[in-house]
Symmetry: C2
Subunit: 327 residues, 2 copies
DNA sequence: TTGTAGGCGTTATCAG
DNA sequence: CTGATAACGCCTACAA
């Protein structure tokens, strides 16, 4: 392995000068610099990040923790983060955590390893709370998920209002029996969206039978189908449903149609996220769009601000209801 | 920041002993070890990976390069890798490369940084070739994409045979005018699948008008729609189409239906991958299923073998045609 | 069984 | 503008 020493010897300068060239200190005379540069090329030298890190504790690497890469929602948020990171000369690494708090210890290890200059966390706020307590030195920012009233800056939509908006839309269409398909309340988004739903129903003086809220533990298509089948068995059967994820909504539509119902005539469906397939599926899905890309971009900007020593305020990004054919 | 020295002082031992405890050398007497352990706990000490790395060059971190996290195909492959990695006490990090060979230099930097013990690469073989030349020290394994005749071990299906199978299936259904929607031939899978398609057509003594092969540069739904619109404009119009990705296939079906054709009666469609939405979309998609999870698992096993100094042979995993309603 | 001390490859502080 | 040299935190001969 070739080191700065080899380069220095080859270029007949000191290691200090090599280091200066490497780090673009403009105090090196051009001919000297050129000698160093060609030595670097000749020896195919690469700096050893671990050694540099030991000195500078800077890797220009950022980590994002995402619960589930199969959910297309996260993929685009990550892309937004990555774009901004690279613009600022950081590289983004992704760790799929699979929501497993059993792995909490492994996180803490990763996060305290100093291998990353900062973290954007999309994990459930329940685990976020545990982990962030133990990891205080590390610049840390939350995206979509966050611990309420916490000092950690975050970016998110107003989950509660968004769910309320979905219900209001259905109420305006004349629905009274509106059900709710939820993923898992270890997510703050799940809690807040359910609150938004319940609030809107209460405001409209509409009862919510317990079985109208189906919490299925995840967002896979199959779980949406499961929830729909349960809803189909109810009497009185709901005439509309809000799902906290497009994937749940699509799974549910599939099951409703298999069950012989027509969407939206006999069962209206509203989803969340506006993932790409939402527009293609038939009927196309009415959904609360989140600014996925901007969510990621703003989260990364927050993190960059933290790198600069600032304490940026959290941001709430706007959501929009996109009316299509499912409701 | 607390170091081994602090711990040593606190426990009244030497740094060497602390290090031994840290690395579970069993040459430390129990009471001594306990003293060290409680010192570690008391001071909330964590080893600094970068310092350790500088000495041992081992991180127990594995990197996977994937072109596009929006493609649900990759998400599950990654999950397979992650599961096996963690079983063996490695952590998996994901880097979305966005197929950008402009970023080649950044890769090489990442890969030569010694921050990762190994790499599983799913990037286009064209960039793989360039990068792997410059990165020889690093254990390196390819998944799905690979440089043919290369020394790098890889896991993949038989892309050519799989495409041939898709065509044979359509031929058996009586189709003669079969088109092909391709993504980008910088991928070896794209080249090989097209060969498989052309071979099967030639065998059946069927002509392939140039415009029957639509290469759209990616796998987004919208690109599938684009290809379909072009195919619709052709005379004679194809009666069936094979797409190299389910996402392309679904986009195409959408466009065919918008164009007034019924699938599969007027246009049969076969996809590739069997991603979750393939079964839900209507008509449900006939597709060549890849063993996504196993692809990732086997790739990681190959890498682990490389860590042990072995030179494992490449593996070809079986594909299956899943007949549904689109063809 | 435990301690001492040197070095991993870099960067940065000094002098010169 | 350039060079010598001392850290950064850890691991591991080698010695005791």
């Amino acid at each position: 392995m070739t080191t700065v020493h080899d380069v220095a010897r080859h270029a007949k300068v000191s290691t200090a000068t090599v280091s200066r060239v490497l780090n673009k200190h403009d105090s090196v005379r051009v001919p000297t610099r050129d000698r160093v540069l060609s030595a670097i090329a000749a020896l195919n030298y690469r700096v050893d990040v671990s050694a540099r890190l030991l000195r500078t504790s800077q890797t220009r690497l950022v980590l994002t923790l995402v619960p589930d890469l199969m959910n297309p929602f996260y993929a685009e948020v990550v892309r937004g983060m990555g774009a901004v990171a690279r613009q600022h000369d950081y590289e983004l690494l992704v760790c799929e955590t699979m929501e497993s708090d059993a792995r909490e210890r492994a996180y803490v290890q990763m996060l305290t390893s100093r291998l990353y200059d900062g973290v954007v966390c999309m994990d459930p706020f329940t685990t976020q709370r545990l982990v962030s307590e133990q990891v205080q030195e590390l610049p840390w920012v939350a995206c979509s998920e966050f611990v309420p009233d916490d000092a950690v800056p975050h970016v998110s939509i107003d989950h509660q209002q968004a769910a309320t908006d979905a219900v209001l839309y259905l109420l305006a269409k004349g629905h009274q029996r509106i059900a709710f398909i939820n993923s898992d309340e270890k997510y703050i988004y799940a809690q807040q969206r359910r609150h938004g739903y319940e609030l809107a129903m209460r405001h409209a003086q509409l009862a919510v039978p317990e079985a109208y809220v189906q919490t299925v533990g995840g967002v896979d298509f199959s779980l949406g189908e499961l929830a729909a089948r349960r809803l189909l068995a109810l009497a009185p059967r709901p005439s509309a449903v809000v799902a906290v994820s497009d994937t749940l909504a699509i799974g549910a539509m599939k099951a409703f149609k298999s069950g012989g119902l027509s969407v939206p005539q006999e069962m209206a469906v509203v989803g969340f996220d506006d993932v790409p397939i939402a527009a293609l599926f038939e009927p196309s899905l009415t959904t609360i769009a989140q600014p996925r890309r901007a969510l990621g971009e703003r989260a990364m900007h927050l993190l960059l601000a933290r790198f600069r020593g600032e304490r940026p305020p959290s941001e709430t990004l706007p959501h929009t209801l996109i009316a299509r054919n499912s409701a």
